[in-house]
């Protein structure tokens, strides 16, 4: 039988038009993927007006996820409530916002396992290429003696059931995911056995080497650093009734008393480690997150209200560069309701 195709000429043209639209859409898709990966946003610049020197060490946003767990709900009684973790977290969050220009700070108090994972994922989703991301955890930690594996213990942990804990490898995966997107990542863990998270690495820098050039150099190299309250040991909860753990007490103290415009994690951790070890039976550790792309860069804290010797405080200017909102909107999706984002949506079909 011969089929008379003349019955359908208009439909053939329509079909070709639709296919052309499909090809064009796929082309735009490829272009958009590239646009997203090169987006930039807000940054901080310090300008010392007294000597006209300027430093432009970082172009990214300072973001932080701060977790403090006090109120443990374990019915088996293994995990008793802590007294200082929430206070520690609140004070760290306040300091970062008020004195170090962190513009995106999420404070999670008494977080469940699910809360932590969702918050980490949301943080990864909204982080951009040049950002500096700090994750702070204060709460119980646990080390499995047999396997030598460490865990964070969320408030909904049950007894010795490891599946209700947050395994170090999971934390590493989540932090690595964030680190793969941003320039600098710092994990600060104030819990027992938190040293099991890290691999020790030294930048080998003496105090006199912290020059302007050094800061610029290390800020351009990717960093994924960790500061831990202790190695494979128990750590104290309340330091001299200060309302803070010893580690966070000295961390806060260092951040408060720091009078340098720029403070690297190597400087900070060195000072905190010495102070803690000198005062309590606990030795904090610092290093890098193995396999997460650390290039011996440095997470740099930039203090907003520094005093510079010989310079009138009124003449010290710290500039926060904010790109207009409409420009920021174009850069990348920002999930404002991170805890609600589903991981899976069924594939749509016709």
């Amino acid at each position: 039988m011969v089929i008379d195709m003349r019955n359908f000429p208009h439909k053939q043209i329509l079909g070709k038009k639709i296919l052309s639209i499909v090809i064009t859409m796929l082309g735009f898709t490829a272009l958009l993927i590239h646009d997203v990966s090169v987006a930039e946003t807000r940054g901080i610049t310090i300008e010392k007006t007294a000597n006209t020197q300027s430093s432009n060490v970082n172009k990214g946003v300072y973001r932080a996820l701060i977790i403090g767990n006090n109120e443990y709900r374990d019915e088996q009684g293994k995990w008793e409530s802590l007294s200082t973790a929430v206070t520690d977290a609140r004070e760290v969050a306040r300091l970062l916002k008020q004195q170090y220009g962190f513009t995106d700070v999420i404070l999670l108090e008494n977080a469940t396992r699910r809360d932590v994972l969702y918050a980490l994922e949301a943080l990864a989703n909204r982080s951009l290429k040049n950002d500096n991301v700090l994750i702070y955890y204060a709460g119980h930690g646990f080390l499995d003696d047999e396997t030598n594996k460490g865990f964070w213990v969320p408030v909904d942990a049950t007894g010795s059931d490891h599946t209700t804990f947050l395994r170090n490898s999971t934390i590493r995966d989540e932090v690595s995911s964030i680190a793969s997107r941003v320039q600098h990542t710092l994990l600060i863990s104030d819990s027992c056995f938190s040293g099991s998270l890290l691999r020790t690495a030294s930048r080998g820098i003496s105090e006199s080497d912290y020059t302007e050039k050094y800061f610029e150099k290390v800020s351009k190299k990717k960093s994924v650093q960790i500061m831990a309250a202790g190695g494979f040991e128990f750590v104290d909860d309340d330091y001299r009734e200060s309302g803070h753990s010893p580690f966070t007490y000295f961390l806060i103290n260092e951040l408060k008393t720091n009078n340098s415009p720029m403070l690297t994690v190597s400087q900070l951790s060195g000072n905190v480690e010495r102070a803690v070890a000198n005062n309590v039976d606990q030795v904090p550790e610092s290093g890098v997150l193995q396999g997460a792309g650390d290039e011996l860069g440095e997470f740099i804290f930039i203090k907003l209200d520094v005093e510079i010797e010989g310079v009138d405080p009124d003449r010290v200017k710290v500039e926060v560069n904010v790109i207009p909102v409409d420009k920021e909107k174009k850069t990348k999706k920002v999930n404002r309701q991170p805890a609600k984002q589903p991981k899976v949506v069924p594939i749509p079909t016709l």
Binding site: H34, L117, K340, Q341, K343, V344, P346, I347, P348, T349
Partner: protein, 237 residues
Amino acid sequence: MLVKKLFLMLLLILLSISNSSADQRLTFGAKLLGAVWKGDNGAGGTDYESNEGGQFGLNVSYKIGDFYTGLNLQRGEYDFNNRAPDKFTPAGRVSNTSVKIQQTDVDLLFGYYFWSQVSLFVDIKNVTNNWLDDPYSQNFLGIGLGTSGYIPINDRWTLFGSFGFIGSGEIKDNNDVKVGEGSSWALEVGTIYTINERHFVNAGIKTRNYSFEYLDSSKQDYNINAIFIGYNYSFSL
């Protein structure tokens, strides 16, 4: 030629994505649909409605960053008493009464979340209707465009939906002879319940419409209205 162009574009997209360090996720799913097939054989024909029917589907999808691709296979039977969809052969219309029709759907799709909760997708769809009373089957192949999205309600519940259409597809019989052309659209809404990080269940309703025009200018329209439940197992790579 056009298929080659599509393939080339897809390759370019995948190459672009492979350079990024976006999150990757693999999801396996199963879906059970209870459906009614209701239609009209057009002028000179009858209207009809299936007594009972349903389909079972398996799917796999891969998501990297905002891009996703997936394959869906779905098969089921529809039972018609007295009045049923007519067959349209190159020789013309063949009326049907009581018959069972086996329907097989294959979807290959590519989508991209241009917005945080809304994606656009392309679906290469193949539907085969196989009349089980004799060796006659009809195959509809088309490329569709659609949009899908979701609205989180809380930590556990999420609403989702999609709409898409195939502007023009080709209908062939079991001898691979073209017997007509057609268009189609589909609308789906549902809800997802998150059990935990890896396990998800979903349920919803879906309606599909097909409008066929055969070589002898006969027209045939039908809707398949379904309620479905589904399960997904998903993990990061």
